[in-house]
Protein backbone atom coordinates (compact mmCIF):
# COMPACT_ATOMS: atom_id res chain seq x y z
CA UNK A 1 0.00 0.00 0.00
CA UNK A 2 2.90 2.36 0.88
CA UNK A 3 6.64 2.17 1.57
CA UNK A 4 7.09 4.81 4.24
CA UNK A 5 4.98 5.92 7.18
CA UNK A 6 5.51 9.37 8.65
CA UNK A 7 4.07 10.52 11.95
CA UNK A 8 4.90 14.23 12.09
CA UNK A 9 4.76 16.00 15.43
CA UNK A 10 3.55 19.37 14.21
CA UNK A 11 1.37 20.80 11.46
CA UNK A 12 4.41 22.56 10.05
CA UNK A 13 6.29 19.28 9.77
CA UNK A 14 3.26 17.65 8.12
CA UNK A 15 2.99 20.50 5.60
CA UNK A 16 6.67 20.11 4.73
CA UNK A 17 6.21 16.39 4.14
CA UNK A 18 3.13 16.72 1.98
CA UNK A 19 4.78 19.61 0.09
CA UNK A 20 7.86 17.51 -0.52
CA UNK A 21 6.07 14.34 -1.61
CA UNK A 22 3.08 15.92 -3.44
CA UNK A 23 1.13 13.16 -5.29
CA UNK A 24 3.56 10.53 -4.02
CA UNK A 25 2.16 10.85 -0.50
CA UNK A 26 -1.24 10.34 1.00
CA UNK A 27 -2.56 12.03 4.14
CA UNK A 28 -4.12 9.69 6.67
CA UNK A 29 -6.09 10.55 9.80
CA UNK A 30 -8.32 7.78 11.20
CA UNK A 31 -7.84 5.73 8.05
CA UNK A 32 -11.20 3.97 8.36
CA UNK A 33 -12.10 4.80 4.74
CA UNK A 34 -8.58 5.09 3.36
CA UNK A 35 -7.30 1.66 4.41
CA UNK A 36 -10.24 0.09 2.56
CA UNK A 37 -9.48 2.19 -0.53
CA UNK A 38 -5.91 0.89 -0.55
CA UNK A 39 -6.75 -2.72 0.23
CA UNK A 40 -9.51 -2.84 -2.41
CA UNK A 41 -7.08 -1.20 -4.87
CA UNK A 42 -9.42 1.70 -5.53
CA UNK A 43 -6.29 3.74 -4.75
CA UNK A 44 -2.92 2.86 -6.25
CA UNK A 45 -0.01 2.35 -3.89
CA UNK A 46 1.85 5.52 -2.84
CA UNK A 47 5.37 6.11 -1.71
CA UNK A 48 4.50 7.56 1.67
CA UNK A 49 1.71 8.03 4.14
CA UNK A 50 1.64 11.11 6.37
CA UNK A 51 -0.36 10.39 9.52
CA UNK A 52 -1.90 13.65 10.73
CA UNK A 53 -4.15 12.12 13.40
CA UNK A 54 -1.99 13.13 16.37
CA UNK A 55 -1.19 16.73 15.43
CA UNK A 56 -2.19 18.80 18.45
CA UNK A 57 -3.15 21.75 16.21
CA UNK A 58 -5.84 19.63 14.54
CA UNK A 59 -7.33 18.01 17.64
CA UNK A 60 -9.11 20.96 19.26
CA UNK A 61 -12.74 22.01 19.53
CA UNK A 62 -12.91 25.76 20.27
CA UNK A 63 -15.48 28.45 20.81
CA UNK A 64 -14.22 31.95 20.07
CA UNK A 65 -16.77 34.71 20.19
CA UNK A 66 -19.64 33.43 18.05
CA UNK A 67 -17.55 30.99 16.07
CA UNK A 68 -16.99 27.27 16.68
CA UNK A 69 -13.87 25.69 15.23
CA UNK A 70 -13.36 21.94 15.03
CA UNK A 71 -9.90 20.63 14.15
CA UNK A 72 -9.89 18.25 11.21
CA UNK A 73 -8.37 15.39 13.25
CA UNK A 74 -11.04 15.57 15.96
CA UNK A 75 -12.55 12.09 16.21
CA UNK A 76 -16.26 11.33 16.10
CA UNK A 77 -16.02 10.06 19.70
CA UNK A 78 -14.57 13.44 20.71
CA UNK A 79 -17.52 15.16 19.03
CA UNK A 80 -20.01 12.90 20.83
CA UNK A 81 -18.26 13.61 24.15
CA UNK A 82 -17.95 17.37 23.67
CA UNK A 83 -20.02 19.36 26.13
CA UNK A 84 -19.67 22.45 23.94
CA UNK A 85 -21.15 20.68 20.90
CA UNK A 86 -23.83 18.84 22.90
CA UNK A 87 -25.01 22.13 24.36
CA UNK A 88 -24.82 24.28 21.25
CA UNK A 89 -25.03 22.18 18.10
CA UNK A 90 -26.53 18.79 19.03
CA UNK A 91 -27.03 18.03 15.33
CA UNK A 92 -23.29 17.31 15.00
CA UNK A 93 -23.46 14.87 17.90
CA UNK A 94 -26.54 13.21 16.40
CA UNK A 95 -24.79 12.80 13.04
CA UNK A 96 -21.55 11.48 14.58
CA UNK A 97 -23.48 8.84 16.55
CA UNK A 98 -24.85 7.48 13.27
CA UNK A 99 -21.42 6.57 11.92
CA UNK A 100 -20.04 3.05 12.38
CA UNK A 101 -19.68 1.67 15.89
CA UNK A 102 -17.51 2.81 18.83
CA UNK A 103 -14.41 1.18 17.31
CA UNK A 104 -14.78 3.27 14.14
CA UNK A 105 -15.78 6.46 15.98
CA UNK A 106 -12.71 6.23 18.23
CA UNK A 107 -10.44 6.80 15.23
CA UNK A 108 -12.54 8.23 12.37
CA UNK A 109 -12.27 12.02 12.11
CA UNK A 110 -14.54 14.85 11.05
CA UNK A 111 -11.93 15.99 8.52
CA UNK A 112 -11.72 12.50 7.07
CA UNK A 113 -15.48 12.30 6.65
CA UNK A 114 -15.47 15.65 4.82
CA UNK A 115 -12.40 15.07 2.63
CA UNK A 116 -13.44 11.52 1.71
CA UNK A 117 -16.61 13.23 0.42
CA UNK A 118 -18.79 10.17 0.08
CA UNK A 119 -22.25 11.23 -1.16
CA UNK A 120 -23.59 9.32 1.86
CA UNK A 121 -21.23 10.85 4.47
CA UNK A 122 -23.22 11.52 7.63
CA UNK A 123 -21.33 14.55 8.98
CA UNK A 124 -21.60 16.53 5.76
CA UNK A 125 -25.37 17.33 5.70
CA UNK A 126 -25.17 18.43 9.35
CA UNK A 127 -22.19 20.68 8.56
CA UNK A 128 -23.92 22.06 5.44
CA UNK A 129 -26.94 23.37 7.37
CA UNK A 130 -24.50 25.18 9.68
CA UNK A 131 -22.97 26.93 6.62
CA UNK A 132 -19.59 25.47 7.60
CA UNK A 133 -16.33 26.65 6.13
CA UNK A 134 -13.24 24.55 5.49
CA UNK A 135 -9.78 25.90 6.37
CA UNK A 136 -6.90 24.65 4.30
CA UNK A 137 -3.21 25.08 4.99
CA UNK A 138 -0.26 24.69 2.63
CA UNK A 139 3.40 25.56 2.52
CA UNK A 140 3.42 27.19 -0.91
CA UNK A 141 0.31 29.31 -0.86
CA UNK A 142 -1.57 31.25 1.75
CA UNK A 143 -3.93 29.44 4.08
CA UNK A 144 -7.39 29.60 2.53
CA UNK A 145 -10.92 29.15 3.77
CA UNK A 146 -13.84 28.17 1.55
CA UNK A 147 -17.49 27.24 2.16
CA UNK A 148 -17.98 23.49 2.56
CA UNK A 149 -20.55 23.64 -0.23
CA UNK A 150 -17.88 24.89 -2.65
CA UNK A 151 -15.26 22.48 -1.29
CA UNK A 152 -17.41 19.49 -2.36
CA UNK A 153 -16.89 19.12 -6.11
CA UNK A 154 -18.49 15.73 -6.78
CA UNK A 155 -18.65 12.09 -5.77
CA UNK A 156 -15.51 11.76 -3.62
CA UNK A 157 -14.00 14.85 -5.24
CA UNK A 158 -13.00 17.92 -3.23
CA UNK A 159 -11.20 21.19 -3.90
CA UNK A 160 -7.90 20.14 -2.35
CA UNK A 161 -4.52 19.98 -4.05
CA UNK A 162 -1.46 17.91 -3.26
CA UNK A 163 0.54 19.76 -0.64
CA UNK A 164 -2.59 21.07 1.08
CA UNK A 165 -4.04 19.91 4.41
CA UNK A 166 -7.56 20.56 5.70
CA UNK A 167 -6.89 21.97 9.15
CA UNK A 168 -10.27 23.07 10.52
CA UNK A 169 -13.97 23.21 9.96
CA UNK A 170 -15.73 26.23 11.41
CA UNK A 171 -19.15 27.82 11.55
CA UNK A 172 -20.98 30.61 13.31
CA UNK A 173 -22.88 29.57 16.39
CA UNK A 174 -26.59 29.51 15.48
CA UNK A 175 -29.21 31.42 17.46
CA UNK A 176 -30.13 29.68 20.72
CA UNK A 177 -33.77 29.36 19.47
CA UNK A 178 -32.60 27.11 16.64
CA UNK A 179 -34.13 23.66 16.32
CA UNK A 180 -32.28 20.76 14.76
CA UNK A 181 -33.21 17.51 13.10
CA UNK A 182 -31.01 14.69 11.85
CA UNK A 183 -32.13 11.35 10.50
CA UNK A 184 -30.40 8.56 8.66
CA UNK A 185 -32.43 6.09 6.61
CA UNK A 186 -30.57 2.80 6.84
CA UNK A 187 -31.27 -0.93 6.65
CA UNK A 188 -29.81 -1.65 10.12
CA UNK A 189 -29.62 0.63 13.14
CA UNK A 190 -25.81 0.58 13.28
CA UNK A 191 -22.87 -0.06 10.98
CA UNK A 192 -24.82 0.93 7.86
CA UNK A 193 -24.18 3.28 4.97
CA UNK A 194 -27.04 5.75 4.53
CA UNK A 195 -29.73 5.07 1.93
CA UNK A 196 -30.44 8.73 2.53
CA UNK A 197 -29.73 11.20 5.32
CA UNK A 198 -31.39 14.47 6.22
CA UNK A 199 -30.27 17.45 8.31
CA UNK A 200 -32.50 20.44 9.12
CA UNK A 201 -31.89 23.67 11.00
CA UNK A 202 -34.93 25.83 11.69
CA UNK A 203 -35.83 29.02 13.51
CA UNK A 204 -39.49 29.82 14.11
CA UNK A 205 -40.55 33.32 15.10
CA UNK A 206 -44.09 34.65 15.55
CA UNK A 207 -45.60 31.40 14.26
CA UNK A 208 -43.60 31.68 11.04
CA UNK A 209 -40.62 29.75 9.74
CA UNK A 210 -38.11 32.59 9.91
CA UNK A 211 -35.20 30.52 8.70
CA UNK A 212 -34.80 26.97 7.46
CA UNK A 213 -31.77 25.19 6.08
CA UNK A 214 -32.06 21.67 4.74
CA UNK A 215 -29.36 19.30 3.51
CA UNK A 216 -29.67 15.76 2.22
CA UNK A 217 -27.09 13.08 1.52
CA UNK A 218 -26.99 10.05 -0.81
CA UNK A 219 -29.37 11.72 -3.29
CA UNK A 220 -26.80 13.46 -5.54
CA UNK A 221 -23.05 13.23 -6.28
CA UNK A 222 -22.44 15.29 -3.13
CA UNK A 223 -24.64 16.01 -0.14
CA UNK A 224 -26.77 19.00 -1.18
CA UNK A 225 -28.69 21.90 0.29
CA UNK A 226 -32.35 21.77 -0.78
CA UNK A 227 -32.55 25.44 -1.69
CA UNK A 228 -35.77 25.25 -3.70
CA UNK A 229 -37.65 23.77 -0.75
CA UNK A 230 -35.91 26.13 1.68
CA UNK A 231 -37.26 29.12 -0.23
CA UNK A 232 -40.76 27.58 -0.44
CA UNK A 233 -40.82 27.13 3.33
CA UNK A 234 -39.24 30.39 4.42
CA UNK A 235 -41.72 32.87 5.91
CA UNK A 236 -44.72 30.53 5.77
CA UNK A 237 -47.04 30.26 8.74
CA UNK A 238 -46.32 27.05 10.64
CA UNK A 239 -49.99 25.97 10.28
CA UNK A 240 -49.44 25.58 6.54
CA UNK A 241 -46.23 23.53 6.78
CA UNK A 242 -48.08 20.27 6.08
CA UNK A 243 -49.16 21.36 2.60
CA UNK A 244 -47.63 18.68 0.30
CA UNK A 245 -47.22 21.18 -2.54
CA UNK A 246 -44.44 22.90 -0.62
CA UNK A 247 -42.31 19.81 -1.05
CA UNK A 248 -42.75 19.03 -4.75
CA UNK A 249 -39.82 21.31 -5.62
CA UNK A 250 -37.49 18.79 -4.02
CA UNK A 251 -37.04 17.17 -7.43
CA UNK A 252 -35.24 20.39 -8.47
CA UNK A 253 -32.63 19.82 -5.80
CA UNK A 254 -31.86 16.12 -5.82
CA UNK A 255 -30.88 13.58 -8.48
CA UNK A 256 -30.84 10.20 -6.73
CA UNK A 257 -29.53 7.12 -8.48
CA UNK A 258 -30.49 3.47 -8.23
CA UNK A 259 -27.86 1.29 -6.63
CA UNK A 260 -27.72 -1.85 -4.51
CA UNK A 261 -28.90 0.09 -1.46
CA UNK A 262 -32.10 1.50 -2.95
CA UNK A 263 -33.77 2.52 -6.21
CA UNK A 264 -34.04 6.07 -7.50
CA UNK A 265 -37.84 5.93 -7.11
CA UNK A 266 -37.59 4.77 -3.48
CA UNK A 267 -35.10 7.52 -2.61
CA UNK A 268 -37.30 10.19 -4.25
CA UNK A 269 -40.36 9.05 -2.35
CA UNK A 270 -38.55 8.72 0.98
CA UNK A 271 -36.89 12.10 0.46
CA UNK A 272 -40.20 13.89 -0.06
CA UNK A 273 -42.10 12.04 2.70
CA UNK A 274 -39.33 12.17 5.30
CA UNK A 275 -38.72 15.88 4.74
CA UNK A 276 -42.42 16.72 5.10
CA UNK A 277 -42.78 14.56 8.22
CA UNK A 278 -39.65 16.13 9.72
CA UNK A 279 -40.79 19.71 9.11
CA UNK A 280 -44.28 18.97 10.50
CA UNK A 281 -42.68 17.37 13.56
CA UNK A 282 -40.43 20.36 14.14
CA UNK A 283 -43.17 23.00 13.88
CA UNK A 284 -45.52 20.89 16.03
CA UNK A 285 -42.94 20.61 18.77
CA UNK A 286 -42.72 24.40 18.77
CA UNK A 287 -46.51 24.76 18.94
CA UNK A 288 -46.76 22.40 21.88
CA UNK A 289 -43.46 23.32 23.47
Amino acid sequence: MWNQYFTPNSLDEALHLTHQYQERACLLAGGTDLILDFSSQRYSPVEAVVDISCLPELRKIDLQGESITIGSAVTLSQIIGSELLNNNVPILVAAAKQIGGPQIRNVATIGGNVVNASPAADMIPALLVLDSKVSIGSLSGKARQIPLEAFLLGNRKVDLSFGEIVTEICFTLPDSMTQYYFHKVQPRRAMSIAILNLAILMIVQDQKIAQVKIAMGAVAPTAVRLKSVESELTNIHIQTAANPELYTEISQDIVPISDFRASREYRLRVARNLLREAIIGMVNSIKTG
Binding site: M1, G31, S77, G101, P102, Q103, I104, A190
Partner: protein
Protein backbone atom coordinates in the same frame (compact mmCIF):
# COMPACT_ATOMS: atom_id res chain seq x y z
CA UNK B 1 10.58 0.19 9.96
CA UNK B 2 11.11 -0.31 13.66
CA UNK B 3 7.94 -0.50 15.74
CA UNK B 4 8.23 0.10 19.47
CA UNK B 5 5.06 -0.30 21.45
CA UNK B 6 3.64 -2.19 24.36
CA UNK B 7 1.33 -5.16 24.03
CA UNK B 8 -0.52 -6.29 27.13
CA UNK B 9 1.90 -4.15 29.15
CA UNK B 10 4.97 -5.86 27.72
CA UNK B 11 7.37 -3.66 25.75
CA UNK B 12 7.79 -4.95 22.20
CA UNK B 13 10.27 -3.88 19.57
CA UNK B 14 10.16 -5.40 16.12
CA UNK B 15 10.87 -4.75 12.47
CA UNK B 16 7.73 -4.44 10.36
CA UNK B 17 6.78 -3.36 6.85
CA UNK B 18 5.53 0.24 6.83
CA UNK B 19 2.09 -0.82 5.57
CA UNK B 20 1.39 -3.81 7.77
CA UNK B 21 -1.91 -3.71 9.62
CA UNK B 22 -2.08 -4.03 13.36
CA UNK B 23 -4.18 -7.19 13.27
CA UNK B 24 -1.54 -8.96 11.17
CA UNK B 25 1.33 -7.88 13.39
CA UNK B 26 -0.54 -9.14 16.46
CA UNK B 27 -1.55 -12.46 14.95
CA UNK B 28 1.28 -13.33 12.57
CA UNK B 29 4.32 -11.81 14.24
CA UNK B 30 3.37 -11.98 17.90
CA UNK B 31 1.20 -15.10 17.72
CA UNK B 32 -1.68 -13.41 19.55
CA UNK B 33 -4.41 -15.25 17.67
CA UNK B 34 -7.12 -14.47 20.18
CA UNK B 35 -7.77 -11.37 18.06
CA UNK B 36 -9.88 -12.66 15.17
CA UNK B 37 -10.12 -11.67 11.53
CA UNK B 38 -13.49 -11.85 9.87
CA UNK B 39 -14.58 -9.07 7.50
CA UNK B 40 -11.30 -7.17 7.24
CA UNK B 41 -13.27 -4.03 6.53
CA UNK B 42 -14.23 -2.61 9.89
CA UNK B 43 -17.78 -3.96 9.85
CA UNK B 44 -17.75 -6.84 12.31
CA UNK B 45 -15.58 -5.97 15.33
CA UNK B 46 -14.04 -9.47 15.59
CA UNK B 47 -10.58 -7.86 15.48
CA UNK B 48 -11.27 -5.36 18.29
CA UNK B 49 -8.26 -4.45 20.45
CA UNK B 50 -7.56 -1.38 22.58
CA UNK B 51 -5.09 1.35 21.79
CA UNK B 52 -4.45 3.39 24.92
CA UNK B 53 -7.62 1.89 26.38
CA UNK B 54 -9.93 2.74 23.45
CA UNK B 55 -11.44 -0.08 21.40
CA UNK B 56 -10.55 0.03 17.70
CA UNK B 57 -10.82 -2.31 14.71
CA UNK B 58 -7.26 -3.60 14.34
CA UNK B 59 -7.95 -4.56 10.69
CA UNK B 60 -8.20 -0.85 9.81
CA UNK B 61 -5.22 0.36 11.82
CA UNK B 62 -1.77 0.57 10.27
CA UNK B 63 0.56 -1.05 12.82
CA UNK B 64 2.71 2.07 12.53
CA UNK B 65 -0.08 3.99 14.29
CA UNK B 66 0.69 1.99 17.44
CA UNK B 67 4.20 3.47 17.64
CA UNK B 68 4.91 4.39 21.26
CA UNK B 69 1.42 3.43 22.35
CA UNK B 70 -0.14 0.78 24.50
CA UNK B 71 -2.10 -2.05 22.85
CA UNK B 72 -4.29 -4.48 24.78
CA UNK B 73 -5.59 -7.71 23.26
CA UNK B 74 -7.92 -10.39 24.61
CA UNK B 75 -4.83 -12.25 25.91
CA UNK B 76 -4.22 -9.25 28.16
CA UNK B 77 -7.66 -9.44 29.75
CA UNK B 78 -8.00 -13.04 30.77
CA UNK B 79 -7.08 -16.65 30.14
CA UNK B 80 -8.70 -20.04 30.73
CA UNK B 81 -7.19 -20.34 34.22
CA UNK B 82 -8.06 -16.78 35.12
CA UNK B 83 -10.89 -15.43 32.99
CA UNK B 84 -11.95 -11.80 33.15
CA UNK B 85 -15.30 -11.26 34.96
CA UNK B 86 -16.89 -10.39 31.61
CA UNK B 87 -15.67 -13.66 30.13
CA UNK B 88 -17.01 -15.59 33.12
CA UNK B 89 -20.35 -13.92 32.76
CA UNK B 90 -20.57 -14.63 29.01
CA UNK B 91 -19.87 -18.32 29.76
CA UNK B 92 -22.44 -18.41 32.57
CA UNK B 93 -25.12 -16.87 30.36
CA UNK B 94 -24.36 -19.14 27.40
CA UNK B 95 -23.61 -16.00 25.43
CA UNK B 96 -21.26 -17.71 23.02
CA UNK B 97 -22.30 -20.03 20.24
CA UNK B 98 -19.58 -20.58 17.64
CA UNK B 99 -17.46 -18.23 19.75
CA UNK B 100 -15.68 -16.49 16.89
CA UNK B 101 -17.01 -13.03 17.72
CA UNK B 102 -16.54 -13.46 21.48
CA UNK B 103 -13.04 -11.97 21.93
CA UNK B 104 -14.13 -8.84 20.08
CA UNK B 105 -17.29 -8.56 22.16
CA UNK B 106 -15.27 -8.96 25.37
CA UNK B 107 -12.86 -6.19 24.37
CA UNK B 108 -15.71 -3.81 23.59
CA UNK B 109 -17.81 -4.78 26.62
CA UNK B 110 -14.93 -4.33 29.10
CA UNK B 111 -14.08 -0.93 27.60
CA UNK B 112 -17.75 0.04 27.85
CA UNK B 113 -17.90 -0.97 31.53
CA UNK B 114 -14.59 0.75 32.26
CA UNK B 115 -16.03 3.98 30.90
CA UNK B 116 -19.51 3.54 32.34
CA UNK B 117 -19.75 0.96 35.16
CA UNK B 118 -23.54 1.11 35.23
CA UNK B 119 -24.76 1.30 31.63
CA UNK B 120 -28.47 1.09 30.83
CA UNK B 121 -29.88 -1.57 28.50
CA UNK B 122 -29.92 1.01 25.67
CA UNK B 123 -26.36 2.10 26.42
CA UNK B 124 -25.18 -1.52 26.26
CA UNK B 125 -26.85 -2.02 22.87
CA UNK B 126 -25.31 1.21 21.60
CA UNK B 127 -21.93 0.34 23.11
CA UNK B 128 -21.85 -3.06 21.42
CA UNK B 129 -23.22 -1.90 18.05
CA UNK B 130 -19.82 -2.25 16.38
CA UNK B 131 -19.66 -6.00 17.04
CA UNK B 132 -21.54 -8.49 14.92
CA UNK B 133 -22.52 -12.02 15.97
CA UNK B 134 -23.50 -14.07 12.94
CA UNK B 135 -25.01 -16.76 15.16
CA UNK B 136 -27.17 -13.77 16.19
CA UNK B 137 -26.87 -14.52 19.88
CA UNK B 138 -27.23 -10.89 20.86
CA UNK B 139 -29.87 -11.32 23.57
CA UNK B 140 -27.65 -13.45 25.81
CA UNK B 141 -24.59 -11.28 25.19
CA UNK B 142 -26.52 -8.19 26.22
CA UNK B 143 -28.01 -9.98 29.24
CA UNK B 144 -24.56 -11.09 30.36
CA UNK B 145 -23.17 -7.56 30.19
CA UNK B 146 -26.27 -6.14 31.81
CA UNK B 147 -25.87 -8.56 34.74
CA UNK B 148 -22.50 -6.98 35.46
CA UNK B 149 -23.85 -3.46 35.18
CA UNK B 150 -26.25 -4.18 38.02
CA UNK B 151 -23.77 -5.92 40.27
CA UNK B 152 -20.71 -4.76 42.11
CA UNK B 153 -18.62 -7.70 40.96
CA UNK B 154 -17.13 -5.79 38.09
CA UNK B 155 -13.62 -4.59 38.82
CA UNK B 156 -12.06 -2.03 36.52
CA UNK B 157 -9.24 -3.43 34.44
Amino acid sequence: MKLNFSVNQKPISLEIKADELLVDVLRERLGLTGTKISCREGECGACTVWIDGLPVNSCLIPAAKAQGRSVTTIEGLGCIEKPHPVQERLAKYGASQCGYCTPGFVMTAVALLNENPDPSHAEIIEGLEGNLCRCTGYVKIIEAVESLAQSSEFVQS
